[in-house]
Symmetry: C2
Subunit: 397 residues, 2 copies
C-alpha cells in the first residue's frame, strides 16, 4: 500500500463520526495565512497579555513546595472555596463548594457535560452563531445539535425566544446558551432567561449556560457584568454553568476551567474527571485560587482595555457604507458583515492576501454566521489601530 492508501485504510478503520469531524473553519483560514510575513492575526479568542506575575508566582511557589502529586479529582479545597467566594461576591447568591468542580479548561467542562447529557439519540438546541467546538463535542458523544440563530438588528443581536422554544422536541435533553456570545457579543436579557428557565423546568430540559464572557460587558458602568443563570435558579435546577480562567485572567495557556452543577451530580463529575483526565495540574490550582482571590483589579483593567478596543474597531468600521455591524454588547469580538459577500472563508483568505489581517470566517460559527467575519479586539490598541489602517481601505473605505 502507498501512503495515501494506507492512510485512507486507517481512517476507514475508526469510528466514522470521529473520522468525519469537520476541520474548524477558523483553522482553515489560519492555516492559510499563518506563515504570511507581517500578518496581524485577530482570528483567535485571546489577547496579547501574558498571565499576571502574581498568579504565576503562586503556582511556582506551590510547585517548589512539592505539590506535584495526584490530588482531588474535583479540585483542591482552597480553589473550590475561592470559586465559591468569587461567585458569591460577583452574583450575591451562595454557590456552595459541593456544586463546584475544577476542570482542565472550559472546553473540558463542556465535554464532560456532553458525556453526561447528550448521548446517541439525544438532541441539544444551541443558540447560534456559536463557538463551533460545541457542535463537535456533542458529535463525539453521539448527540445532534439543532441551531436557533440570533439576528442582527439596528440595536444589536436578538434572539426570538419562541423559535428557541419551538426547536425543542421530545429528544431535546439540553439547551446551550452562551451569553455574552462568542462571536456576536449578544447578551441574553434577564427576562428571557427567566422565561427560558420556566420553560425548561416545565419540560425537564437542562440548561447549559456558557458564561465564560460574563465579565466582558460594555454598555453599563465599570464593573458591570452580564446576568447569570446562577442568579435566577435554585441549586437543584437542571442547570450546568461552564466557565474558565482563560479570558478573565489571561490564562488561556493554563487550561483550567470550572463547572457549577447541582450538588447531587458531584460524584458524577468526580467520575467523569477521573475517567477523562484524572484531574487538573495540582500546583497550577494554587495559581488559579490566587487569580480568584486577588485578581479582581486584573479583570477590571482587562475589560477596560477591551472596551477601548471595541471603540477602536467599531468607530473605524462604522464609517464604511458597505459594512453591516452593531456594537457588541459583550465578549471581545466584533462580528461584522460585508455587503454582497456570501463566502466568508473566501473573504477571510482574500483579506489575508490584500490587507495582511487575519479574521475568522462567520460560517465557522454555524447558522446565522455566513456573510460575516469575526474580529477579536482583546489585543493591544496599537495592534488594533494598525489592523484597521489596513482593513478599512481593503474593505473599500
Amino acid at each position: 500500500m502507498d501512503g495515501q492508501t494506507a492512510g485512507d485504510d486507517l481512517l476507514s478503520a475508526i469510528r466514522p463520526e470521529i473520522a468525519q469531524l469537520p476541520e474548524s473553519g477558523i483553522l482553515i483560514v489560519a492555516n492559510y495565512g499563518r506563515e504570511k510575513e507581517g500578518l496581524l492575526p485577530l482570528w483567535f479568542g485571546e489577547g496579547d497579555l501574558p498571565t499576571p506575575d502574581f498568579i504565576g508566582e503562586a503556582a511556582t511557589t506551590a510547585l517548589k513546595a512539592g505539590n506535584t502529586f495526584y490530588t482531588y479529582q474535583r479540585g483542591i479545597p482552597p480553589l473550590r472555596q475561592a470559586l465559591s467566594d468569587y461567585l458569591e461576591r460577583l452574583y450575591s447568591v451562595p454557590v456552595a463548594t459541593d456544586r463546584l468542580t475544577v476542570t482542565t479548561s472550559g472546553m473540558q467542562a463542556i465535554m464532560l457535560t456532553m458525556q453526561m447529557l447528550v448521548g446517541p439519540g439525544d438532541e441539544m438546541v444551541a443558540v447560534s452563531p456559536v463557538w463551533p467546538n460545541i457542535f463537535s463535542a456533542a458529535r463525539i458523544t453521539g448527540g445532534t445539535v439543532r441551531q436557533v440563530a440570533t439576528e442582527r438588528r439596528e440595536d444589536g443581536w436578538r434572539l426570538d425566544l419562541d423559535r428557541l422554544v419551538d426547536a425543542c422536541g421530545p429528544k431535546t435533553r439540553a439547551i446551550f446558551i452562551n451569553s455574552p456570545s462568542n462571536p456576536t457579543g449578544w447578551i441574553m436579557p434577564e427576562e428571557d432567561m427567566i422565561a427560558l428557565r420556566d420553560f425548561a423546568r416545565g419540560r425537564g430540559i437542562w440548561i447549559i449556560a456558557d458564561e465564560v464572557y460574563g465579565r466582558f460587558v460594555y454598555d453599563g458602568p465599570e464593573g458591570s457584568r452580564a446576568p447569570s443563570f446562577l442568579e435566577i435558579t435554585e441549586p437543584d435546577d437542571r442547570l450546568i454553568v461552564i466557565n474558565t480562567f482563560s479570558k478573565n485572567w489571561s490564562m488561556t495557556g493554563w487550561r483550567i476551567g470550572w463547572v457549577v452543577a447541582p450538588p447531587a451530580l458531584g460524584r458524577v463529575y468526580e467520575n467523569l474527571v477521573q475517567f477523562n483526565t484524572s484531574g487538573t495540574t495540582t500546583f497550577l490550582q494554587h495559581g488559579a485560587a490566587t487569580a480568584l482571590n486577588d485578581g479582581d483589579p486584573t479583570v477590571d483593567a482587562l475589560v477596560e482595555r477591551c472596551r477601548k478596543g471595541r471603540e477602536i474597531v467599531c468607530s473605524r468600521l462604522e464609517t464604511l457604507p458597505n459594512i453591516r455591524l452593531t456594537r457588541p454588547a459583550g465578549a471581545f469580538y466584533l462580528l461584522f458583515g460585508v455587503e454582497g459577500e456570501t463566502d466568508s472563508i473566501a473573504l477571510a483568505k482574500s483579506l489575508i492576501d490584500r490587507a495582511g489581517v487575519g479574521l475568522a470566517p462567520g460560517s465557522a460559527f454555524g447558522e446565522g454566521g455566513e456573510g460575516y467575519l469575526r474580529l477579536c479586539f482583546a489585543g493591544s490598541h496599537a495592534h488594533l489601530e494598525k489592523a484597521m489602517d489596513r482593513l478599512v481601505p481593503a474593505l473599500g473605505g
Copy 2:
C-alpha cells in the same frame, strides 16, 4: 422535594450509563481509611518523591518568559521532537513526530482513543486484572469490554494467548494490553506480542498498548526495559501506544501524557484534543521536554529504588505460609493473595483497622483480581519497612 428526592430526580435525568458509572473499588477503600490517624497508604499508584527540581525549573522559566497563550493542539514542537528522540534512544526504532500527540495525562490518551475506536456497539478485549479506569472510559464512549484474565503460576503471571484470540468476536475493534501490567507486573513476552500483532493484522483489529510502566522492569540488568509494540510494528499498523510522564519522572500531579499513532491519524488526534481540552498547559510542556532530554538518570535511579522496594515487600511477605505471591517482573505493584480470603474490599478495610496500612482491593481490577490485594512499592524504603512490620503480623505471620 426534599434533598434526597431532588438528587434522585437529577440522577434520573442524565444518561444512565453515566449515572451508573461504578465507584472505583480503590476509592471505596481509600475513602474508608483516608482519615485514619497514622495510616500508611500504599493504595495509589505513585511514589513519594516530588518532581525533580530541574524539571520544575524548566517549566517555571517558560512561565516567566510568558508562555501562557494557546498553543499547538498536539503539543509544542520541541516537546514532540524530544519525545521522538527519547523513543528512538530507548527502542532503536524511528518514531517520527507526525505520529506523536501530547495529551493531558495518559488517562486522556486512553479516553481519546476510546472515543476514536470504541463507540456504541463496539467491543474491546482487555487483558485483566487491569487498571479499572479502562472499563469506565470505554463505558463512557458506549463500548463494552471483554476481559481475559492472566493467571498466577509459580514462575509469574501468564496469559493464555489462545484465550485472548478466542475472545475476539466480530464486534471487537481493539485489544488493550497493559505491559508491564498494573496491578500484576506481568510483562508480555515478545514472541506473544509478535503472534498478537499477526493475529490483529489479519483481523484488522487495533492494538492499544499501554506502556506506561515500560521502564520499570526488575529481572534484567540495570537499564533494562520491557519490549514495546513500537519495536515490532510499522508506522501504518493499527497500533496506538499510550504513555505518561507521571511514573518515570515523578510527575503524577502534572497531568501530561502522550500517544503514538499512525501518521494518518494526526488530524484525528488534533481534533480530539481540540474538542476535549483544547491542549495541554503551554509552559508545562517545556518542563516535560526537559524531563525527556535530561531525565534518563532520574528514571534509572527511580527504577533502582523500586527494585529495592520490591525486595523489601516480597522478602517479608514470602515468609508467610498463607500468602500467595510471585515477584512482579515489572511495574511497581505487588498483587498478592491471602489464603481463604475471597472478599478483597472487606480484607483491605480490615487491614486498615488492624494494621493501619492502606492497600487496594484486587476486585477493583476486574476478572482475576478478587482474592488479591495490590500494594504499591514505589514509596520510600523506610515507609515500606514500617508497613511490612505492621502487615506481616496482621496477615498472620
